[in-house]
């Protein structure tokens, strides 16, 4: 005989109980409060401060740091928060394009809660040139989400961080130093700061003021020999002179510095987990000029735009004035994730896409160069 489940003395009582479930739920739902539902929740409000999304930022001051770097300080629409070492995009309309660039935040996380944020930018390209020459107090920019993982991770990193900074690559470390000084972060930071000459050092007096048991800066000049400064490049011997024990290396600077540092760090046989590099924006590639056509679907609209084989697909869309998502410009963050309908492309550097993205034909336009005409479905910015 098949098994018969019974809980109450009489099986029909189990059946009755079952029958009461729907009336009971009906009653419970009807008894709920008629008060308006909350429009938001505490966790969601905190999430908006941690991840504010795009917001308006008014340029409130411009300070000349060196001949080719300036610090731009903004007042933001809303308070926000970030981790020292993170970057955010800064954008605005320039001529017919809507442009943005990722810059490491040079101010302290605490300041962002007071709606203040600073970027220290070296004059290097089109957008930084615009900032340098055209931007003035009162101008309105669009600030993106604080992003990136170029931060101290207490559960993973050594208590001692050795920072290798090249030129304006000092900015994330300056933010970290401020965060250590005000108690937001807790680790020892030894910064090897490489610059061409003494005049090229950014934040010299600020960094000297921050020096403490936890924060030390060693200035390394490549083009000058001066007392009080190390000379040359940041190499193994120099690091050994100042540093011993377990440490995590974090580097931020030009690609050439990374290549040199990698060679020098071989002497320390550091595992991968002990070395972090901030990614650099993808630039142009060295091929012969050729123009392809991109067919771009954004929302309900379709656009046809030219694309120079030397520049990324993202740059082509921006040049044409299309409003498209852009964030890290180094292939890693996935913010520009777009569906490739047809066409060929080459990647700049390593493939940082998710496995399934490659399988189903998604690309990151910021690190893809066109090798033919292409058709793409791009989310709106």
């Amino acid at each position: 005989m098949p098994y018969v489940f019974k809980k109450q003395i009489f099986g029909f009582m189990d059946l009755l109980r079952f029958k009461k479930m729907v009336p009971k739920r009906r009653r419970k739902l009807a008894e709920g409060s008629a008060a308006p539902l909350p429009e938001t929740y505490r966790v969601n409000e905190t999430a908006k401060i941690l991840h504010p999304g795009f917001q308006r930022a008014v340029l409130v001051s411009v300070k000349e740091e060196t001949a080719d770097t300036k610090t731009f300080t903004f007042q933001t629409e809303r308070p926000f928060y970030f981790r020292a070492g993170q970057y955010a995009t800064l954008g605005c309309g320039v001529e017919k394009s809507v442009l943005s660039r990722p810059y490491s935040i040079s101010s302290a996380p605490e300041d962002a809660l007071k709606r203040k944020v600073s970027f220290t930018v070296k004059k290097a390209g089109f957008f930084s040139g615009y900032l340098f020459d055209e931007a003035k107090e009162g101008d309105v920019f669009t600030l993106g989400d604080p992003s990136g993982d170029f931060c101290y991770e207490p559960l993973k990193d050594a208590k001692h961080v050795v920072a290798l900074a090249g030129g304006s690559g000092i900015t994330p470390f300056y933010s970290m130093a401020q965060a250590i000084a005000d108690g937001t972060e807790d680790f020892r930071l030894t910064i090897f700061y490489g610059a061409n000459t003494e005049k090229d050092i950014i934040f010299r007096s600020e960094l000297d003021k921050l020096a403490s048991e936890k924060i030390r800066v060693i200035y390394v000049l490549s083009d000058e020999e001066k007392e009080g400064f190390e000379h040359g490049f940041i190499g193994a011997e120099l690091i050994q002179k100042y540093v011993s024990g377990d440490f995590t290396v974090m580097m931020c600077g030009p690609q050439a510095m990374y290549a040199y540092a990698d060679g020098q760090l071989a002497a320390f046989s550091l595992p991968l987990r002990r070395v972090k590099k901030e990614a650099n924006c993808v630039g142009v590639r060295d091929v012969k000029p050729q123009t392809f056509t991109l067919t771009v679907h954004i929302g309900f609209e379709t656009f046809s735009v030219p694309a120079d084989a030397r520049e990324t697909v993202l740059t082509a869309m921006e040049r044409a004035g299309l409003r498209v998502p852009a964030k890290c410009r180094a292939g890693g963050c996935g913010f520009c994730h777009s569906k490739l309908v047809s066409g060929k492309f080459s990647l700049a550097g390593a493939d940082k896409r998710r496995l399934a993205d490659a399988k189903f034909g998604y690309i990151h336009p910021c690190c893809s160069y066109p090798d033919s005409d292409m058709e793409l479905i791009v989310p709106k910015a």
Binding site: Y3, V4, F5, K6, K7, G11, D14, R17, F18, K20, M21, V22, K24, R25, R26, K28, L29, A30, E31, G32, S33, A34, A35, P36, L37, P38, E39, Y41, R42, V43, N44, T46, A47, L50, H51, R83, P109, E110, D149, L155, K156, P271, L272, R273, G299, F300, P325, G332, G334, F335, K352, R354, L355, A356, D357, K359, F360, Y362, P379, K380
Partner: protein, 507 residues
């Protein structure tokens, strides 16, 4: 103005399936998603040389081609099974509970499971066998219920699925006690409870037994390229069927006609879409709290009556040694303080006290998921209150690290594995992270709690009467099938097909 037969709000698991069902039913469909990726929680992310699974531990009820589960059948009908590379999960779980000094590793397969239980708990065989007999009857009764769209014939139910009806109003522990299951066997069997997020004195037996059966009967599977592969396969299918998808696009308003029925959807950029049908893959709290100007009072009352289920927290580790080297022996761990699930549930209310974790080492199911000589793990817990609402932004990162540190310590202590000193990548998701990406209130990841009165059975039975706004249906964890991957897919299947029916009725 753009006009669609139906708009699906949210491209999570439920929304993606609903969109495919609508398109298969001939409806002109628009799917809008506020994030730039499909899938909701079903996604992945890269850190260094690792690609982490964001949420899926294992997909239950999938099975193999010749022993297909309901999810595989659904994916076959949707036309996506073949677009995905599947792998099978080797074993069900290892449960470790401190108070009871319990450490048991359970296999897939009903008879293997019963045999193993008998080894751990001599004399448990009769009650555990009865449990699976009940669970199987529940599965068949649910299949019957689905085949008639929830409009079951009570007489037929009692005649054919008498046990289903007789045990259907009880909690997990009430039924297991009636089965005279030995305590230790109950403790081992109840290990999956945190996947449903209500404790076993409150959780409906039907719901729990149905889930356990879906795991043990056919095993569990996983897409090789993480759940992002499923989400992209479903997205691909929506496009193949001619559906429109807009990413980075939030639906902000649902407008209504004079009778209060759905008339349109307003997008974040102000675009107005005309439609008479919406499948909302989001919380009724959000829809009636923010998206509709005049939500009916009955909906407000019903929504206020419900209780949010667990708020999510996950830590992801990329480790620079293999699972063998680290001493991580299993694929899926449940680590509890106690198998008194009601007491455990209480402790999960606060950041300070909660030390529960459900932990996966994906390499134990798929050794090639990360480079040779490395492995990946993810650790998840739930918070049974809004304690994270007390955390200020400036305390956020420290609090995340505090919990993550406790998770590592607990895993090392309970299993003997060594993780510290091998962490190459770490990423931590807190309720704020889930709130950010998916918009769920308080960072809830399990929808409305499977409380006794609001459990699976009454929700299914009340599917037809639950929402009174014409043209509005729900999918996802807040809907009639409750939370979890397979449940969300099924809710999308149900709401998608029902909306096709609604459209056809209107002619």
């Amino acid at each position: 103005m753009k006009k669609y037969d139906a708009v699906v709000i949210g491209a999570g698991n439920g929304g993606l399936v609903a969109a495919i069902r609508l398109l298969q039913g001939g409806a002109k469909t628009l799917l809008v998603e506020k994030h730039n990726l499909p899938g909701g929680f079903a996604t992945s992310f890269r850190r260094g040389r690792f690609e982490f699974e964001a949420s899926l531990h294992e997909l239950n009820d999938f099975g193999t081609a010749d022993n297909a589960g309901d999810v595989r059948d659904l994916f076959d009908e949707l036309g996506v099974t073949e677009k995905i590379d599947w792998l099978e999960i080797p074993e069900a779980y290892r449960v470790i509970a401190r108070a009871e000094k319990l450490d048991a590793t359970m296999p897939f397969g009903v008879s293997a499971f019963i045999d193993k239980m008998e080894k751990y708990v001599p004399g448990s065989r009769p009650s555990v066998t009865k449990f699976f007999a009940l669970a199987e009857e529940i599965r068949l009764a649910q299949a019957y219920s689905s085949s008639v769209n929830g409009k079951t014939d009570p007489k037929y139910m009692v005649e054919h699925y008498g046990n289903f009806v007789r045990c259907g109003s009880y909690s997990v522990n009430e039924v297991l006690s009636a089965l005279k299951m030995p305590k230790k066997a109950k403790d081992i069997l109840n290990a999956y409870w945190c996947y449903l997020g209500a404790h076993c004195d409150d959780l409906s037996f039907l719901h729990y037994a149905s889930m356990v059966n879906r795991y043990i009967l056919r095993g569990a599977s996983m897409p090789k390229m993480r759940s992002h592969e499923i989400s992209l396969a479903l997205t691909e299918r929506v496009r193949e069927l001619g559906g429109d998808i807009l990413f980075n696009t939030e639906a902000v308003k649902i407008s209504t006609d004079r009778e209060g029925g759905v008339a349109g959807v307003t997008l974040g950029d102000g675009t107005e879409i005309i439609t008479r049908h919406v499948v909302a893959n989001c919380a009724p709290h959000v829809v009636f709290g923010r998206m509709m100007d005049k939500a009916p009072e009955a909906e407000i009352r019903a929504t206020n009556a419900r209780k949010f289920a667990g708020r999510g927290f996950s830590m992801f580790l990329g480790l620079d040694a293999s699972a063998e080297e680290l001493g991580v022996e299993n694929h899926n761990y449940f680590l509890y303080d106690t198998m008194d699930t009601a007491a455990q549930y209480e402790k999960m209310r606060t950041i300070k006290e909660n030390e529960v974790q459900a932990t996966v080492c994906l390499n134990r199911a798929y050794p090639e998921c990360s480079p040779k000589g490395t492995c990946m793990m993810y650790f998840t817990t739930l918070y049974m209150s809004d304690d994270w609402g007390n955390i200020k932004p400036e305390e956020y990162y420290k609090t995340k690290n505090y919990v993550a540190d406790k998770m590592i310590a607990r895993f090392e202590r309970d299993t003997g594995a060594k993780l510290r000193g091998h962490i190459e990548e770490i990423s931590i998701a807190a309720p704020m992270t889930y709130a950010r990406y998916c918009g769920h209130p308080e960072g809830v990841i399990y929808g409305y709690e499977s409380q006794y009165w609001d459990g699976l059975m009454p929700r299914l039975q009340m599917m037809g009467e639950d929402h009174k706004v014409r043209g509005l249906r729900f999918a996802g964890g807040y809907a009639m099938r409750l939370s979890g991957y397979s449940s969300a897919y099924f809710s999308g299947d149900i709401s998608g097909r029902q909306t096709v029916g609604d459209i056809k009725k209107e002619g």
